[in-house]
Amino acid sequence: MEISFTKEELFWLILAGSFFTLFVSTSFALMYFFYRKRLTDQLLKTTEIELQKKSELLESQIIGQDSEREKIARAIHDEISSKLAILQISIEHLKRINLEKNQEETDLIVEIIEKLIASTESISHGLLPPDLEHAGLISAVNGVVEVLNKTGELAIDYTWIDLSDGQHIKETELGVYRIIHELMHNTIKYANAKNVRLNIELNRTSLAISYSDDGAGFNMEEAMNKGLGIRSILSRVQFLNASYNFHSELGQGMEFTLKKIR
């Protein structure tokens, strides 16, 4: 039996067939997108719970780490540095008594002790910058900036506004100090930058920083997945309960801003 169609019928058949296949594929695509969204939402919920647990763990780790650093810094300063200073004075006294004898040896010992004092101070300051405790964040960062500017490798344009009336919150400022430290570390180690701009605005109600460099920049998503210290920075930001913005693209440097309500 042969089925025949008129031209009119065939026209409608082709049109209906095309609409039908298009309808089927559109429905399939829509169903897929709905299913995908549902699956993603479910996975997000699970991930959020895991992240919450991780952030609690991280918080206690940061608190523990900072507290240990502080203890070690104090121990180095109070125990080792002061005893080395006494040792230095004693040897210089000994040198004055025995003017003729063992001049060269005592000079050498004094020199070694001076270097030891400098090293212990440097380690102690690295663990807990004394300026941060006594003069606050702006001064502590200034110390780091001066050292880096002297090396000539990096030109840091550091500006600040301090309207805090000397009110310092040590935990917050220490957290921000560590973030700036990590940013500078990344700039030096990975970015191959020549210039850095750093601005800190401190007042009684908020603390804001903006940091940018003119280095190689990076792919944000890859950096988030692979590390580059960005995860460590964001952990600190999370610990501070602050808001942040990271911006970078290849060859365009990077920008980071942070705001914390005190």
């Binding site: 065939l10 298009l22 699956l39 998503e221 942040y244 913005n245």
Partner: protein, 230 residues
């Protein structure tokens, strides 16, 4: 009236393709390997569209362009899926996926020369291509679901690939019947009726290239910002 609409659609398609190529040109460094075939496909589509529109305005038969375009389009879209579906992993001692590509391409060329006439449509090649592309796009969806379920690291550029895949599925399924009956439409059907079907085909192309623009845009522009508050 239908003739004007068809011309208007042809110009719009050319403009859409120019936008795609401009987006790719601007973000060339960011384009990943798999997207490169989509870029080449867009260039091929632009050339074919310009040549066929020009020939059509000069009242010269332009259907031979479709034969060349079909073979080129198939190769480039196949290579796109070869990358994104990792078809290379299926090879044993022989590279079956590439042999399949060569076989289908050979069939298309043979069919254009010996089975179908070069001045008529190529329903066999077109429908075969549509079927293969529909199958590939469904496999891509399955692969994507597996990727989410197995917690593969998220890259927002995959959204771009997903959109391109959706565009290919909609275009292939919508065009399937039209190209299957293309010779009949060309030789037997009333001109006014066949033009309506070609307008439908043109609208499908507009939809496809619109999706492709968004897809390519997502592929070519990596996320530059991360922000949030705790």
């Amino acid at each position: 009236m239908t003739g004007i609409i068809l011309k208007f659609i042809a110009i719009l398609v050319i403009m859409q393709l120019l936008v795609i190529i401009a987006v790719c040109w601007k973000n060339f460094k960011q384009i990943k390997k798999e997207a490169l075939f989509i870029v080449l496909f867009s260039v091929l589509a632009l050339l074919a569209q310009v040549v066929s529109t020009t020939l059509s305005w000069l009242k010269i038969n332009n259907i031979w362009v479709l034969h060349v375009y079909t073979a080129g389009e198939f190769v480039l879209l196949y290579l796109f899926y070869y990358q994104v579906l990792h078809l290379g992993e299926l090879k044993t001692r022989l590279n079956w996926p590439l042999l399949f590509l060569v076989a289908v391409f050979g069939f298309m060329v043979y069919s254009s020369i010996y089975i179908e006439t070069i001045n008529g449509f190529n329903p066999m090649s077109r429908t075969l291509e549509c079927l293969i592309m529909i199958a590939f796009s469904v496999f891509f969806y399955i692969k994507e679901i597996r990727a989410i379920a197995y917690f593969e690291s998220y890259d927002h550029r995959r959204e771009g690939l997903l959109l391109i895949n959706t565009g290919i599925l909609l275009l292939s399924s919508g065009q399937f019947f039209i190209y299957l009956m293309s010779n009949y439409m060309f030789y037997e059907m009333h001109n006014s009726q066949s033009r309506i079907l070609w307008i439908f085909n043109g609208l499908l192309n507009l939809l496809f290239y619109s999706i492709l623009i968004v897809g390519i845009w997502k592929l070519a522009s990596p996320k530059k910002n991360f922000s949030g508050s705790y």
